[in-house]
Subunit: 441 residues, 2 copies
Amino acid sequence: MIDAIWPRHAERLPDGGLRLGGCDARSLAAQYGTPLFVVDELDVRSRAAEYKAAYDHGDHPFEVFYASKAFLTVAIARWVHGAGLGIDVATGGELAVALRAGIPGEQIVMHGNNKSRAEIEAALEHGLRALVCDSLDELARIGSIAAERGLVAPVMLRLTAGVEAHTHEAIATAHEDQKFGLSIATGMAAKAVDQALGDPHIDLRGFHSHIGSQIFDADGFEIAAHRVALFMADMARTRGYVADALDLGGGMGIPYVDGDDPLDVAEMAHRLRAIVVRECSSAGIAVPRLSVEPGRAIVGSSTVTLYEVGVVKQVQVSDDFVRQYVAVDGGMSDNIRTALYNADYTAALANRVSHATAVPSRVVGKHCESGDIVVNNLQLPTDVRAGDLLAVATTGAYCWSMASNYNNLPRPAVIAVRDGASRVLIRRETAEDLLARDQDA
Amino acid sequence: MIDAIWPRHAERLPDGGLRLGGCDARSLAAQYGTPLFVVDELDVRSRAAEYKAAYDHGDHPFEVFYASKAFLTVAIARWVHGAGLGIDVATGGELAVALRAGIPGEQIVMHGNNKSRAEIEAALEHGLRALVCDSLDELARIGSIAAERGLVAPVMLRLTAGVEAHTHEAIATAHEDQKFGLSIATGMAAKAVDQALGDPHIDLRGFHSHIGSQIFDADGFEIAAHRVALFMADMARTRGYVADALDLGGGMGIPYVDGDDPLDVAEMAHRLRAIVVRECSSAGIAVPRLSVEPGRAIVGSSTVTLYEVGVVKQVQVSDDFVRQYVAVDGGMSDNIRTALYNADYTAALANRVSHATAVPSRVVGKHCESGDIVVNNLQLPTDVRAGDLLAVATTGAYCWSMASNYNNLPRPAVIAVRDGASRVLIRRETAEDLLARDQDA
């Protein structure tokens, strides 16, 4: 399919079928059941490689760390690492997967606003590149755990620059009322620098700034980079501290529906580099080692969720408006983003051609909750019916990773497709799995 | 503790500790780890018994079915059944737990807007009281599956009466733009009655009407009952169909924060009975067999989540406002309700007395997401610090049941406390559990 929304190796067959990574979606559904997460392996690998190529070259290369919270399995970690990316993890659980995938600690960064002792110890033990820290409390804790072990902990401080960016708008007011970050404006960031520099068990590597998610242009990064560069210049002047590293975070957006039009990867990389070079130059500091942390941009578009249609219902909403409700065999347990963020999605029939009129429709799940919506607003033909296969695009990021067992539904399988072959990455949960931890079962 | 928000067998100790079901929260945290769901067994049993007592007596008794989606383990199913309640399930997974708990099919009702063939078959096989159905599509499917097996399926039709109720307000406009229900106003409900009456494999038992959640008074039920009674009278007059059963659904609210003041159980039962009797009488029909389906009202207040405090941070939000951010060792993976519904909660220190000033605070989790908030707005003392034990009240409903592994965090254990003893209902997930289905691990 030519659409930027669908995976790269998706194609529409003449009979209306959908081929993913060379595999017919109908066969995949028959073999593995539905709902089913189908990951286009070469889509993930190629996007990771594109990020590597676009960012990591020239005079001021950016390292690229994959933000694993978006979608993490051992195989996915291997794929992105195979393309030359490092990985960022936010918990010990994510670190365990990255290590299981064979990624060296030196290529792993640990995030998290509230790391446990075990997580900090694991980060030190495995020689992680850095712990990203955003509180005086945790900075002290990291220093003290490192001291116990006679180590020096590599730390980056996460700053809030008063910028929040989403899709088309960057809000450059003081968005400081959040759990993340050390505010430059209020002096917390400077205080943290002082504490870090005064702690012999902390090696302050530099700074981190993350401004939002689903960002379509570079404006927000520009404002943030400007403020961070001034802060770095201030630290150099007043403390003699020259930061070695600067991470601009992630949040690079992807298209979910028609009309979504993010900057392409190379153009965004070009602009970010130009912004950083310019801002460092005007602040009178050297350009530090750079990095970014895309998550959604690597995996989001790679994955399609296949559902089987069950109940279809025409609901007369008002005198002159009927909405077609199409219920599928999953829902908010495998995709909470629609309910949680009011997210938009694109979906299409994947098993046949329909010549029926397309009408305003809503794809809903099978959960006992009226907010259980998968695709809020789309056009589907009037002859959609039980047994049809529905493909929802762009479900790679934050769908499987946030999946639940609400209503005691087993979580779907995750499979990879490539060159006409398919294999299971995560096997489907079973009824037995759901009862396995119940001590009275 | 005297507060209606906390479990019935919670008490504050002189040294600031919190005793739950006779067990010191500090000992529970030490023994089982945190985060930890602590269920006051006798709270659940006594609330179930109160519903039974308040509803199931006199000339027009209501049967009470526990809406298991709120919180379901085998033990909880046994407790509510032991108090004389039936159970409502929405999926085969929930049915499996109810059956494992030994509840006879005759006391189980199956909901769900999109039941699978396997779920319909299981409902018939186990002789469930009724399948609640809200589409012509599924009605036909149920009839056809029953026909294959030479059975007659007991069915209730779920109606939408154009009423939506939440907390203090009932909106009696045409709220029909949702996946649930058969609209009375548009004629869909009558159409479904005709289809059901014409299908020899459907035994139409009656009607179901559910108007919302967290309902604090009877007004919304009154409007709905009025419309449903008129509909039933219409069906009797025009089709000669006299409904045997009427279920008013659930949604009975509970207090989460100070000032929440729902009707007490007996008073709500009294009003619902009076409403139904009056509306049936003015519509000129006999009062059918009645039932209700409380979920949250049975389990919501029974449970406290214990967290360990990690990072504490004073965030200068504006020139004259500082918010204290208190990060705990769980978050949106064990309680998505705050992010999903903007829900409010009450929390308190559970390990010591603090004489420090209480200041505006926010309890946040450890997930890599700024919306990861557990308690949005509360007062906590300025000396809250790492290692403190924080108890969040009223986490019985829709917390564990909607829990995820976001950021690869293992889900907490669920324990029951009673008379000074504790035991595990659901064991804590382990790092191994998280990797168990990953085929590359």
